[in-house]
């Protein structure tokens, strides 16, 4: 019996009900439908997991109908589940369920409650479609679909201009990525004659490296868009305009990791394209450092976590790039736990502070919101790579693999880890320590919100050794992973990275709790560099000046006003004017005088008769 379709279908049904009738339903019913659809979906995933048997040897594959067929080329609506998909399914539905529950509390007083949950359910549908897809085109369906939901949810407060602009930005930047992805798809279809994973992957080894490299590079463009890597990361920080559960679900835990998933899924292609592998590692590493430096300076709590997300995604790509696919996926999973927690915790903090997002107006919240403080501490420990938390394992695996690939990558990664620890804990201290500097009375959130937080906190701490992804996925990726055979002095490497992490935590304690003057001094000492970093290296402004503005102004003044209205219409109307000129000359013949017309007729008759006479009528 084919059952996989039920997994995405459940949230889709939830979307339809809430989307069409939601306005007339009570909030309780809306949230019940929304939450239930995702939880049931999670249950369905579990059922598939338990019934499937050995996914490594016999992946589940289900074909529903032929979607597109032209000539000999056919694309089916196929779902497939192997181990990688299974991990993704669990992460998506599991965290999705928790965040849905959390959101029923968080969004309680918002207008458009039903709309929010309809979008969220739609997102779940597309995300599940993405991970379940049995071919690239179906993956692309999910890929675009989640982008759409991201757009809708970022612009959820559509009366706010900044929100809708951020939504547009997200969608359009993602489109740039999708451009690469779609080109990759076309090239895959030409090269392999199919888009099915089951046909493409085994055949990858036999294809020319140049083609595979092109495909891989184009896929990277796609991944960079969706997973917010340099230079296409710009949309993610702005995406924080959306409600916080959205940031947690879409812009931290699930959607943004789709790029990593896609690259991992395409591992057989990447493995045969070393240039692409290096490219992706470099992009990942650069993004990790780059975003981390920006994260050091931000004051908006969600922006800090957003840059942190960009940075951590960079880590995942580093993992993928150095060949440690499973480590990348591992980090994807643990990151989903602790980053979702960070965002949800941040949401709880924002809730507590009545919508305030600037950390300079927070502080001392550990008194008012102890549970939030506790769970955020768990998450912060995990992201800092504190030993035996979830982040520790996955980050360590990636860094180990990076060292085996190229030691300098390891060192850069370690420094970044230190920075990560610093800015996350900086946020933690600024929020929970010291005195409350905001307005109103902060309060702890309800248990609807705290419940999911606690579950995630447990996962953040214990997720690393509960789910050893490289072990689960062992044998799935054809090349031997450096992380597993262990580099020389593995313990030393681990020690160094942990040390950097702890140093970051310690430094932030020193600067933001013990002696609060230090940041001021450093800021003034750095001067211009600080301004540069604080303003995010002016990347947005540069894009605006280099691409957006020239494009719009060029289109308006050059293309529309000059080419269209000037040249083309000019030529056309010019032809018209010329004809008119000729006409007005000919018009002189039309004197309006009947007798002169008659004379013309006679002349014409003479000419015709002469012509006939000359031609000789038989």
């Amino acid at each position: 019996m084919r059952t996989l379709w039920i997994i995405p279908a459940l949230p889709f049904v939830g979307f339809l009900i809430n989307g069409i009738f939601g306005r007339k339903l009570s909030k309780a019913l809306v949230s019940l439908i929304a939450v239930l659809s995702v939880v049931l979906s999670f249950a369905m995933v579990m059922k598939v997991f338990l019934e499937a048997g050995n996914l490594a040897t016999s992946p589940v594959h289900e074909h529903y109908f032929t979607w597109i067929k032209s000539g000999g080329f056919s694309i089916g609506w196929d779902y497939a589940v192997d181990k990688l998909t299974m991990i993704m399914l669990m992460v998506v539905t599991g965290i999705g369920s928790l965040i849905h529950i959390y959101a029923t509390g968080y969004m309680e007083h918002e207008e458009g409650y039903y709309r929010f949950f309809a979008y969220l359910n739609l997102f779940m549908f597309f995300m599940l479609n993405l991970v379940l897809a049995g071919n690239y085109l179906l993956l692309f369906v999910g890929w675009e679909g989640v982008g759409l939901c991201s757009y809708l949810l970022i612009g959820f407060y559509f009366v706010k201009d900044s929100a809708t602009t951020a939504g547009n930005k997200a969608f359009i930047v993602n489109r740039v990525g999708d451009f690469g992805f779609s080109l990759a798809m076309f090239l895959i279809a030409i090269t392999f004659g199919s888009l099915d994973f089951t046909k493409v992957m085994p055949a990858a080894a036999g294809k020319p490296t140049a083609t595979l490299t092109t495909i891989a590079l184009l896929l990277i463009v796609g991944a960079c868009g969706k997973s917010a890597q340099f230079p296409l990361y710009v949309w993610l920080p702005d995406a924080m305009e959306g409600p916080t559960p959205v940031s947690a679900l879409i812009h931290a835990a699930t959607m943004v990791t789709a790029g990593v998933y896609m690259c991992t899924r395409s591992a057989p292609i990447f493995i045969h394209a070393p240039v692409a592998m290096d490219t992706i590692a470099m992009i990942g590493l650069f993004t990790a450092v780059f975003a981390a430096t920006i994260g050091l300076t931000q004051y908006d709590i969600k922006k800090v976590f957003a840059y942190s997300t960009v940075s951590q995604l960079g880590y995942m790509f580093l993992g993928v790039g150095v060949g440690a696919f499973s480590a990348g996926v591992w980090h994807l999973m643990t990151h989903a736990f602790f980053k979702a927690l960070l965002f949800l915790g941040a949401g709880s903090v924002i809730h507590a502070c009545h919508g305030e997002q600037d950390m300079r107006h927070m502080g001392g919240l550990k008194k008012y919101a102890p549970w939030t403080c506790l769970v955020l501490a768990c998450a912060s420990l995990a992201i800092a790579g504190f030993p035996f938390t979830s982040g520790f394992f996955s980050k360590d695996a990636i860094l180990g693999a990076a060292y085996a690939h190229a030691p300098w990558m390891y060192w850069v990664g370690v420094v970044t880890a230190g920075m990560t620890a610093f800015y996350v804990w900086r946020a933690f201290w600024m929020t929970f320590w010291g005195d409350y500097k905001g307005h109103g009375h902060p309060h702890e959130s309800s248990w609807v919100m705290l419940g999911p937080l606690v579950v995630l906190a447990v996962l953040s701490i214990a997720g690393g050794f509960l789910f050893n992804v490289p072990e689960i996925l062992s044998g799935m990726f054809p090349i031997k992973e450096a992380a597993e055979n262990g580099g020389p002095g593995e313990a030393v490497l681990t020690g160094i990275s942990v040390a950097f992490g702890l140093a970051g935590v310690g430094l932030s304690y020193l600067m933001y709790v013990v002696n609060k003057d230090i940041p001021e001094k450093i800021t003034s000492a750095l001067g211009g560099i600080y301004t540069l970093v604080y303003n995010k290296y002016f990347v947005d402004e540069a894009y605006d000046a280099a691409i957006v503005r020239p494009l719009i102004q060029g289109s308006e003044s050059a293309l529309w006003k000059i080419v269209d209205a000037g040249v083309i219409d000019g030529v056309v109307n010019g032809a018209g004017t010329q004809s008119q000129g000729l006409g007005s000359m000919l018009r002189l013949l039309q004197s309006g005088n009947i007798r002169s017309y008659a004379t013309w007729v006679v002349i014409g008759a003479v000419v015709v008769i002469v012509a006939i006479g000359v031609g000789g009528v038989k």
């Binding site: 979607w67 067929k69 032209s70 000539g71 559509f158 009366v159 779609s182 219409d569």
Partner: protein
């Protein structure tokens, strides 16, 4: 009289009857024309059920001599290409009538009569299998559209109508000359006979003849499409036309151009078509990007949608001249998609216009607050238009780009830029119209969709989803026909001339084509 002829006759009869009705009975005229158009639509579904897949050639054929000298036939028939375009016409006409219900205030009778005349012409164009007959219907279509724009349009309607008419006439006249030249060669206007004569090599065109004839036909169709840089009539016509006019113009009339390319240019002049494919595709790609860029900066919604049509139709031309199965399938599919989604956009813009009496984007803002369902339907249509998967345009664009990639990857690489840009202009417009704070003067003019408007838009949205998901309803019939056309234009078909025919002129250039074809087949 078979079903197809009934289908042609009913709107014509409806047109005449409507003209005879008393002018004052406006409500009755509206109901009557709606009834006729619905009847036609219901009848046209009979074409779908009666269409036998797997049969080569046309179906529902009726071929009788209309005028014996010159040899002109009343020859109608459909294949997979025209089948869906006819359905598209009959599907959209009732919607065009419905959206004009309260929009048209003057000369009501004539307006609705013209819509039926338009439908008659459109069905005829897609059904005609005789060049003369085709040309007749081609011109018949022009007349009602000219009046729709010229009488019921906005302020600059006369300018737009004349521009529209002249542009199209320039092309048509060239085509007429080419048709007559073909007649002097073949001695008949019957397309099936001509095609057979050409195919078998009994009439061998030399290279110059073929190129010139191809260009004459091509120009007529390219203006209609419209292909860059022949597009400037389109924005003006759209902006000035009433909603129903825009709908029919964008959704069906532009397809006459692309239909002509597939139906006539490719099969009749395969060598010239292949030789000229290069620059045509370059123009198509320029059109895709250019249309999108210009659309991006338009302050007027209808103009924006019009330029987006230029961009979308560029895809169709690219697909046609990719000479691949997927490209052609995609092109035909995209014709239908564009008909549905751009048609829906015009319908929705029409709704906005009826509420606010303005087409300027800056006069709106915050509409989503006042009329959420209007916003949602507009959103779905927008998404369809920018090619979101599971909605219709995606399938067409995918097939076209995939087909073009098979022919030449660089084409796809450039054309795909248009996909990015389409998101830019549509979403920016959507943001400015629907999002943001709701101003008072918008608020008071923005009621939610009424029942009539629901009836207009829901079928379109259903079709968007259907065509996005269940492509197998439509594609098999299309594929069969395009496969035949492709076979006709394939290099292999050209190398082998019919036995005993003087096909030297054909054989020479075909060698080059064969080489090019090998590269394409890679």
């Amino acid at each position: 009289m078979n079903l197809l002829e009934i289908l042609i006759a009913v709107p014509a009869a409806g047109f005449l009857v409507t003209l005879l009705m008393p002018r004052a009975q406006e409500q009755f005229v509206k109901l009557f024309t709606l009834g006729v158009s619905l009847l036609v639509f219901a009848l046209s579904l009979g074409l779908v059920t009666g269409y036998e897949s797997g049969k080569t050639g046309q179906q529902f054929v009726h071929n009788v001599v209309w005028i014996s000298n010159p040899d002109i036939h009343w020859h109608v028939g459909i294949d997979g290409l025209s089948l869906w375009l006819i359905i598209l016409s009959t599907f959209l006409t009732p919607i065009a009538i419905l959206i004009s219900w309260s929009y048209i205030k003057k000369q009501v009778k004539e307006f609705f009569a013209f819509l039926l005349l338009l439908e008659f012409g459109l069905i005829g164009v897609f059904a005609a299998w005789d060049l003369f007959l085709f040309y007749t219907f081609w011109e018949v279509v022009l007349v009602p559209m000219y009046f729709l724009i010229g009488i019921w349009g906005h302020d600059r309607r006369i300018y737009a109508a004349v521009k529209f008419f002249l542009y199209t006439m320039v092309g048509s006249v060239l085509m007429l000359a080419a048709i007559i030249y073909v007649y002097t060669l073949a001695g008949t206007f019957d397309y099936a006979t001509i095609l057979e004569l050409f195919r078998s090599g009994r009439i061998a065109l030399n290279h110059t003849q073929e190129t010139l004839l191809f260009l004459a036909f091509f120009l007529a169709f390219a203006i209609k499409v419209p292909l860059f840089p022949l597009h400037t009539w389109l924005p003006d016509a759209h902006v000035e036309a009433p909603t129903a006019g825009s709908l029919m113009l964008a959704s069906v009339m532009l397809k006459m151009g692309t239909y002509g390319l597939v139906r006539f240019c490719l099969p009749m002049f395969p060598i010239a078509a292949r030789e000229n494919a290069g620059w045509i595709n370059v123009l198509a790609i320029i059109g895709i990007i250019y249309g999108a860029l210009v659309a991006m900066v338009q302050p007027n919604m209808k103009k924006l949608v019009a330029y987006s049509s230029v961009s979308h139709l560029g895809f169709v031309v690219l697909g046609i001249f990719s000479f691949t199965q997927m490209g052609l399938d995609g092109a035909v599919y995209q014709m239908l998609n564009h008909g549905i989604s751009t048609g829906a956009l015009f319908v929705l813009v029409g709704f906005l216009y009826e509420r606010r009496h303005s087409l300027a984007i800056k006069d709106f803002g915050g509409v989503a607050t006042a009329a959420p369902w209007l916003a949602i339907t507009f959103l779905i249509t927008t998404l369809a238009s920018i090619g979101l998967p599971m909605l219709n345009n995606f399938v067409g664009e995918f097939l076209i780009l995939q087909g073009a990639a098979q022919a030449k990857f660089a084409w796809t690489a450039f054309a795909a830029v248009g996909v990015i840009l389409s998101a830019c202009y549509m979403l920016w417009m959507y943001q400015r119209v629907f999002f943001g704070p709701l101003s008072d003067d918008v608020k008071h003019h923005m009621p939610e969709l009424n029942m009539r408007e629901w009836a207009c838009i829901v079928p379109l949205i259903v079709m968007m989803v259907w065509m996005g998901m269940r492509t197998q309803t439509f594609l098999p019939a299309v594929s069969e026909t395009t496969a035949q056309i492709l076979e006709r234009t394939s290099p292999a078909a050209m190398v082998v001339p019919a036995a005993g025919s003087p096909a030297v002129a054909v054989a020479l250039p075909s060698v080059e084509i064969a080489k090019g074809g090998d590269q394409n087949a890679r």
